[in-house]
Symmetry: C2
């Protein structure tokens, strides 16, 4: 059966993972929920519940094995093995993403970049070749890539999304502000910078108003 897990819990797992890897690097072998809770500011009980979904069992009075827990979270997220992805849009953001080495920690490997600007084709971008989008379908199918990273200008988002679906892509990591029309079976995860900035703006305004009330 497929594990049911809340989006919120899912979003916390990588934070635990990062903390645990740090502990592991320091040679620490066991860790308690209280430890994680205090480091990340997440309630102990919540940490315990989140960890429980990975199927790992801790030892009362001791805690969890750091290595075990890391492996369990990685495995739960499907990050134990490298997953290939293609990136479309080799502009500023696209090249930053392809050059971001941190993705390795999440088991993500961008195998190739695509663009429709002939000035960009053929050049290597951080060691990955840039192809014309015309070749997307062929290459993605041949390499059986499931994940597509969308970093094109907003106006091109929908059309590019269709290209990706046509290329057999099953999940799109959408870095554009555009809302994608999604065929039911397509997984779309939006990285919505505007939403994030809205939260920042609102809290900042609240903080400033608290100081100088109108």
């Amino acid at each position: 059966m497929v594990q049911a897990i809340s989006v919120q819990a899912l979003r916390r797992l990588p934070q635990y993972l990062r903390f645990l890897r740090g502990m592991s690097a320091k040679g620490r072998e066991v860790v308690s929920c209280r430890h994680i809770s205090e480091a990340l500011g997440v309630e102990q009980t919540l940490v315990r519940k989140d960890i429980a979904v990975t199927g790992i069992v801790g030892r009362p009075k001791v805690g969890y094995g750091v290595g075990e827990l890391i492996a369990a979270i990685e495995s739960f997220l499907g990050w134990s093995n490298t997953t290939d992805a293609v990136l479309v849009g080799a502009g500023n953001l696209g090249s930053a993403l392809i050059g971001y080495e941190g993705f390795r920690d999440y088991g993500l490997n961008i195998v190739a970049a695509f663009d429709n600007d002939s000035a960009k084709i053929g050049r290597a971008l951080h060691g990955r070749e840039v192809f014309h989008v015309d070749r997307l379908r062929d290459l993605a199918i041949r390499l059986s890539v499931n994940i597509g990273i969308l970093a094109v200008p907003a106006e091109a988002a929908r059309a590019t999304c269709e290209l990706l679906v046509d290329a057999g892509i099953r999940a799109i990591w959408n870095f554009t502000p555009a809302q994608l029309e999604t065929p039911a079976e397509l997984v779309v995860e939006n990285v919505n910078l505007a939403s994030s900035l809205a939260v920042l703006s609102n809290r900042l305004n609240a903080a400033l108003n608290r100081e100088k009330p109108v």
Copy 2:
């Protein structure tokens, strides 16, 4: 009094805004909740409640004035006037952010970039000069900038955060995976790519398993 609004609602407002601007560009003058609801896949009642927080009042049987609604959302988010920000970290991601023209739509203006790599200092990045971080405090205070964008390597995140606080920065948009130790009054908004990818991975795995159950 400071408007109370849920983070979720706050995150939806920019989506409405984007849709409304599109409508406005097409010459549309009124819009109903149903209209927004269908375009964005958000329940009508929820749209209505979200819009209500901006203080705007619609007309039964008609809807809301597109221009009015845009102005109300922009004003609520504090996006009607441009807000200055400084960016620290002029690497791949930093230069993508400084070159991203979309921020203009959210009233965000990156006035300068900072780095500690002498190879990057002095060069212009998408038209903005890159300064040494030593000059951060002086410039940020002089320009009374409230927002700092953090795009340094994860290892440098905490130290840079302290520099920003020392420079009078009140809100940090954190693009690093690091968890920041936050003084109570500092606003921190994390753009957590790992969390986002975790959600994507999990849904993709679920979709693939649905096809080929174990």
